[in-house]
Symmetry: D2
Subunit: 312 residues, 4 copies
């Protein structure tokens, strides 16, 4: 780490001020009606270092819908349950197509390319369910996220979940498509119910950055020293975030930011500096690939100014 805590604080504050002021804010997602009501003016950032020091600025305590960022946590949980058997149901390659594409599924007989596109995340959720009731599976997911965040205040925004459940036809299509190939084992409604709800978890940048610590620190919670996953697994999840975490903008994110990251259509991004820090940014306006427009720009600046790119 080439900077002191003081530098980091200044950089974070400066970035937040710039982002707050920019007129180009991207487009708030409209396909989930409840999300469309979010104010595009929001911007928050929080960085948690190895020593637990926190640097934050902007709306860093405002809760937002984490949406697909939750896929990092469900993947971690499912790997803990099924180990490498998980990879029978989902691949590990970038998809080369939009987050909700069904074309790839047809050419690969219902097996999604990776756990971070919608189809793949639904398959992962199905692994977590594995015969249990939706309520139990959802409880498991929520408990896990609270555990890694050291924060019991994290909850599900039921209005968002209900909104998506009413309008998420594309995800219903993807799930039924996989079901027709036997890739899903539980009733489609169960799996989708859990999926829509874990996507509707609300977290602030601070909570999200706390939740990502184990990925920055070899699988351990650096404040408690408790192991969440093995170092190898943490490393591999980071690799998947780097190659697949931003849908069809993953190459661009790696090129510009140079950090493993996972975005959500709620405007949040979790990014990891291995060995150094866990970062969460949030700004609800999206770019053409469905990733937070200012969130990505903020991370690009932060990575550059702190010398944090994993690519040298």
């Amino acid at each position: 780490m080439t900077s002191t805590a003081a530098v980091l604080h200044d950089v974070v504050a400066d970035i937040a001020a710039q982002m707050k002021a920019r007129p180009d804010r991207g487009e708030v997602a409209t396909y989930i009606p409840e999300l469309a009501r979010v104010d595009p003016a929001g911007f928050g950032i929080c960085v948690v270092g190895a020593d637990g020091a926190v640097a934050s600025a902007g709306d860093s305590d405002a809760p937002f819908s984490i949406q697909s960022v939750s896929k990092v946590f469900t993947l971690t949980l499912a790997l803990g349950m099924a180990g490498d058997r998980l990879w029978r149901r989902v691949g590990r390659e970038p998809s080369g197509s939009p987050f909700n594409s069904v074309v790839q599924l047809e050419y690969e007989r219902g097996v999604p390319r990776n756990p971070f596109i919608n189809a793949g995340a639904i398959a992962v959720t199905d692994v977590i369910l594995s015969g249990h009731q939706p309520k139990e599976a959802l409880g498991e997911i929520l408990r896990f996220i609270r555990f890694i965040s050291d924060d019991d205040g994290i909850t599900i925004d039921k209005a968002v979940a209900a909104s998506e459940q009413r309008t998420g036809f594309r995800n219903v299509a993807l799930a039924n498509y996989m079901k027709s190939f036997g890739v899903l084992e539980n009733p489609v409604d169960y799996t989708l119910g859990v999926y829509f709800h874990h996507c509707a978890i609300a977290m602030s940048c601070r909570q999200l950055a706390m939740a990502g610590r184990f990925l920055a620190h070899g699988g351990r919670n650096p404040s408690t020293g408790l192991s969440v996953v093995s170092q190898e697994r943490a490393r591999r999840i980071n690799a998947l975030m780097l190659t697949c975490g931003h849908y069809d903008g993953s190459g661009e994110f790696a090129y510009r930011v140079g950090l493993p990251g996972k975005s959500g259509v709620g405007g949040g991004i979790l990014a990891i500096v291995p060995g150094v820090a866990s970062i969460a940014v949030w700004s609800p306006g999206l770019d053409a690939s469905g990733n937070s427009h200012l969130g990505r720009i903020a991370l690009e600046q932060l990575s550059k100014r702190m010398g944090w790119s994993i690519f040298g």
Copy 2:
């Protein structure tokens, strides 16, 4: 760097011994007749550290056809010539399809997804040509590779180039397809002539690892201190290697090895440990994605044992 030079030498020697002995060697590429004649028993490895120290084992001085590994060097050269204008003709996203797929080209009107699939590398070669004679462009490429390797002995294997020129119908198809969309500016024969010849450059693991040093060291040749490219550009080329360097096996390579790398169907792989080392491995047998089977396994072991993954 968590290891001393002695440990590295032992690890490299041990890996080479194991790889030499393994019965599973993949399949030697047959679509270029001249390559099909290579003995699958070969295995070489060479690591060049920041201080110039070299650890090598196996057939590390045997020349092989670098094939698509050359795309790293042509990309570097083309960026030096055209800067960001290059990106008007080629994208930066993983392709989600095999190295010689034409489907993506049709859906994206002749613009290849990234500079490391065949179509993208042909477009990059066309940028290098930009009105010159094929011979001049090829001379430029060869001079550049000799310069970054500090080795004037590197040459083109004309039998391989001729072999591919006789049989490379798929690449002729890709090039003409791009030409029909105006993505190529030079006569197709010129561009392909240069492309087939730079793919036919022969290098040993030692030469290749030397050539990769500038990517490991912020754009500089660590022995001379001369800058080849800016630090930002080196970082970005590494990012592209990570997300796109192994065709449709790029996600798998990132997941298992955790290093930026670029493979070629001749069985070579160049991998970069940012700030630490440049690595070349070679074993001619390929896996289903067209990447060196034992080369990838060797790099996975090396990365693990040396703690070199960029993902923590």
Copy 3:
């Protein structure tokens, strides 16, 4: 018509005898569990001429699940309701892909290529529903089929409908996919409920051949003289059957049989000889494209021996 009724009777009887005896019977559809139980030995044929004369042989009075043959009747009904507005929701081109492909839907933003692939037929069913209750729409369809067949004994096989409703995940996927683009206007469950039920209508060859008479005779029921549709509409429905009626085997059917026809996975085919006859054949074993194997062969022989091809 180049033959007398006597010749036709002999030809029909001869074909049925041959088909009964053939060992190659195709594969009975298994994806709808209830259909998988049908005996592959069945074969029936029935030809109804302009004068109402009937030539039949084999199991011509055995009821079978008409499945996709019903799409001819729902298309006719929907055109009667919506006229050319129907074509805003579905195209008129052969699909070049299997009956349940979703790829084309993605590339054409949810608008199915033609009314005879599954997606297109679901869109047509949605037009028939148009705000009504599923029961009413289904009643409408059944009444229409009874009317054109002059047969009130035609019913829905509820076991088949229930079987498909439990297992038709691919169709659920297609419908939700279209819904996500706004191509369906009714609740997906309603539309699919009607769709699964009209596919589960059971008819014999005799009933089916009677139902097809209006298409053979310029839109009129030749026995009553009542007009069902205009001559132009009958002609156009025949054209659609010719180009799209056998999924990805439509070209082959036109090439070999030379008649407009519509097949179903229950093993039935309705074929039309414009101005001359309406034909129904049934044999439950299917070929690779999902069309009745012996049904197609029987029609090829019949068309050839009677000189009925529309192509000269």
Copy 4:
């Protein structure tokens, strides 16, 4: 045939007058520079009946580039040479994609879907070549067309051939793509040389309608009584024209016109009324599918007014 020769003459003259006057003329093809120079005002029509009577109007003696209409004649010739072995190299199904698409080729390993899309016609040309010199093959094709037209004045427009040879990158891509799968047997340049030249044959509507007579009359030249192909083969070629003759507008042509037909980007269409007449129309402006805009409308009117649809 429901009309007398007098009615036909009036109808043909009336249609030509209407078409000459219409302001909507489509867009003249620009991708072959030489074709882009054609005046969009042209319109010609010629109908040749069973008795040899000719009804023509407009620019029916003006020569135009027949382009893809030539594919009907090369298919006929190749079937005569290779018989059903031809179908190992090309399919018989509508393509569901534009005339020059390469996507289908990738999914079906280099085998084109039908003989009327560009890739399929190139494969057919390769069958005709089968080891001969391009000049000989081209001579064969030209002799055949002169023979079926009873007209030795038919020639190749070498300026058009050269123009396409200079700019036909997409066709070069398709041919090389097939070559990479072994679907073409001759040198790509040879096959494409013959292909570009037979597409550049210039004919008038009168000559083209004469050439189509054998397809309207069971394989025979009705004036000489000589057999060109068997009745079955004529019927099958008509079937292929119906399902595949207008690229991705084949369904629409069948729906509106109801006749087997083959279009070319030069603006010509050959249409067949089995047992009745051979028709050629020409108007150089194209619709979005690459078929003659006014040509199709003229045929729709002619078919309707003469009651010639094969669909009843």
